[in-house]
């Protein structure tokens, strides 16, 4: 009896540890508000599920929906488990013979990456073969020797949307995240190839051998190219710097490594939640909140100091901002920019919920 009680207590402590960590590191009132926002966000998302289990018949949106539901620190309620299984079944139904999981004929890599991440999160062993095929599809899509590129080429090691060869840091991060979340072989060359690409996306001439490399430690989108929405050029900006930093950590680069340190320094020095840092635009703001939540959680620091010497608790501030931006029906939407589909509440809400889940972990 005493032994059972001891193990029950131990299990309880282990399960409660992440929540306890967040509780320690957050203002209790903010934490309570964040939990409420998360619950109403999930309620909104649940209302968007169609009879076939999908969200808008989209593998991408449905996969983010599954992730938002399953990563809830409180766990998936029993009543919601059939809905999650229907969503996963919809995703699985869109698997193609080449290993991709997508309902359309483009964006294959991106959709497959978020799909296998969602399927892995369900922990249902019946999806293991689909996950393995998806992993193969993603690693095959990496720009490398198979496609006639050598390490000297600046696209080498990157991944794009999947329609062609052009890689970018955003898709590379999503692909690396999916491989990490699905426990892909850490010794596979895919990681070191990706590191070559990620290094070349950092404005850090000590580790970036390209002519365009700056020296502020932040990241750009694609070799010598930023999207025109962010002014083009090769300037570092927030969304991709968060993506670059988390990519380095997913690849296994040590937190003490100067590349990681410089990226973290750029992100914290230029920290703001008012716009996509470094751009003065609100385009991609919810993507930024999502990536910021993930990278700060993985990085592991409770607080940081910004470029003006001000101390920030990222959990409190990100939670407060998301609570402030939430609509009465529980959804989020980017009211000032439709870039990257952020004018779609299904997407902005899924990203916001996942960001809150990082806060509350």
């Amino acid at each position: 009896m005493t032994k059972r009680l001891f193990f029950a207590l131990l299990a309880g402590l282990v399960l409660a540890a992440p929540a306890a960590q967040a509780a320690d590191e957050m203002n209790p009132q903010t934490r309570a508000k964040a939990q409420q926002a998360l619950d109403s966000g999930l309620k909104f998302l649940k209302s968007k599920q169609a009879a076939n289990g999908s969200v808008a018949n989209s593998v991408g949106l449905t996969s983010l929906w599954v992730r938002a539901m399953v990563e809830n620190p409180a766990g998936v309620a029993d009543a919601d488990k059939p809905a999650v299984e229907r969503a996963a079944a919809f995703i699985a139904s869109k698997a193609n013979p080449d290993g991709s999981i997508v309902e359309i004929k483009h964006d294959e890599s991106y959709n497959t990456a978020v799909a296998i991440t969602a399927l892995a999160l369900t922990k249902n062993p019946k999806y293991a073969p689909l996950i393995a095929s998806g992993q193969k599809f993603i690693t095959k899509a990496q720009v490398g020797e198979d496609r006639g590129f050598m390490p000297v080429d600046n696209w080498y090691g990157g991944l794009g949307y999947g329609g062609d060869e052009r890689p970018d840091l955003s898709n590379t991060y999503i692909a690396l995240e999916s491989l990490r979340k699905t426990s892909y072989d850490p010794k596979d060359p895919v990681w070191q190839k990706a590191l070559i690409f990620v290094n070349r996306m950092q404005n850090r001439s000590e580790s970036n051998d390209q002519k365009y490399a700056g020296n502020d430690g932040g990241f750009l989108y694609s070799p010598a190219y930023n999207p025109p929405e962010y002014g083009g050029g090769t300037k570092s900006y927030g969304t991709v710097t968060a993506a670059g930093l988390i990519s380095l950590l997913f690849i296994g680069v040590d937190k003490a490594d100067p590349r990681v340190q410089d990226a973290h320094k750029w992100l914290t020095t230029n920290y703001t939640l008012d716009s996509n840092p470094g751009t003065n635009t609100k385009g991609g703001l919810f993507y930024f909140y999502n990536a910021l939540g993930k990278v700060m959680y993985v990085y592991g620091d409770k607080e940081f100091v910004d470029g003006r010497g001000q101390r920030h608790n990222w959990r409190n501030e990100l939670a407060e901002r998301l609570v402030l931006l939430q609509d009465a029906n529980g959804s989020w939407i980017n009211k000032e920019s439709g870039l990257w589909w952020e004018d779609k509440p299904e997407l902005a809400t899924a990203w916001s919920v996942i960001a809150l889940e990082q806060v509350l972990k």
């Binding site: 004929k105 949307y161 329609g163 062609d164």
Partner: protein, 245 residues
């Protein structure tokens, strides 16, 4: 004469590639395949050699000129860039170009035939037919750009219209065969409203089926219509004298 036309076409293609910056290093290989095949595809009908003396010779010219243009694109791609493109990547793009040109040149031959009936000047008819076919091809090729805004408006009720506006374009077909995400190329991304919407490209098999059906129809319809126009033989059997029908 046709060899001279091909040489002039080749020179025009090189000039156009240079003018459009397709020879600049750094262009992604799939985008280069689209650029080269699209430029050859647009120029080839302008140098259309004209109908033959018989229907069979015209068919031969349609096929021959399309093949010659597709081969020109393949040569340009083999020579383009620092190392040239590998044949397995060149072949699908040039095969798609061949299919597109078969239909385009068949259209040119049909238009030329029609205008020869109304104009005494055969040379003018040939040139006008080539230009007409090139204009039709250019209009269809740019459909995602000029049909895009209308498709976006109507698509709130009919989502398939977005895919249709993209799928109708021969440029999309070349991009699919070249393995290129057409609407994510920087220029299209900035100028085509459809790039930011949810869409799907047509699959290679459905494009091949479409062109295959059109080519087959173009081959069968003239044969069938000629058969219908031919005076009927032995409709009424010749009966022996004195035998009442």
């Amino acid at each position: 004469m046709i060899a001279v036309r091909w040489a002039v076409l080749a020179a025009a293609v090189v000039l156009m590639l240079v003018a459009f910056g397709a020879t600049v290093t750094g262009l992604q290989p799939s985008a280069l395949r689209v650029a080269v095949t699209a430029i050859v595809g647009l120029l080839a009908p302008l140098f259309w050699p004209g109908r033959g003396a018989t229907a069979a010779r015209t068919a031969l010219r349609v096929a021959g000129w399309s093949l010659a243009a597709a081969c020109l694109a393949a040569i340009a791609l083999r020579l383009a860039g620092a190392e040239g493109q590998p044949f397995p990547r060149i072949f699908p793009a040039c095969a798609m170009l061949m299919l597109i040109l078969l239909v385009t040149h068949a259209l040119a031959a049909g238009v030329e035939r029609h205008w020869r009936g109304t104009s005494a000047n055969a040379e003018l008819s040939r040139e006008a037919a080539g230009r007409t076919a090139a204009i039709v091809l250019a209009l269809l090729g740019s459909a995602p750009l000029w049909l895009g805004p209308a498709a976006e408006l109507i698509a709130r009720r009919q989502a398939w219209l977005i895919d249709a506006a993209i799928g109708v374009s021969p440029l999309t077909h070349l991009a699919v065969a070249s393995g290129n995400d057409l609407l994510r190329n920087p220029w299209f991304y900035q100028h085509a409203n459809l790039a930011a919407l949810r869409f799907s490209y047509p699959g290679p098999s459905s494009i091949i089926l479409f062109y295959g059906t059109v080519v087959l129809a173009l081959a069968v319809i003239p044969l069938a219509s000629r058969k219908l126009r031919r005076p009927a033989k032995n409709v009424h059997p010749i009966l022996p004298d004195g035998v009442a029908e």
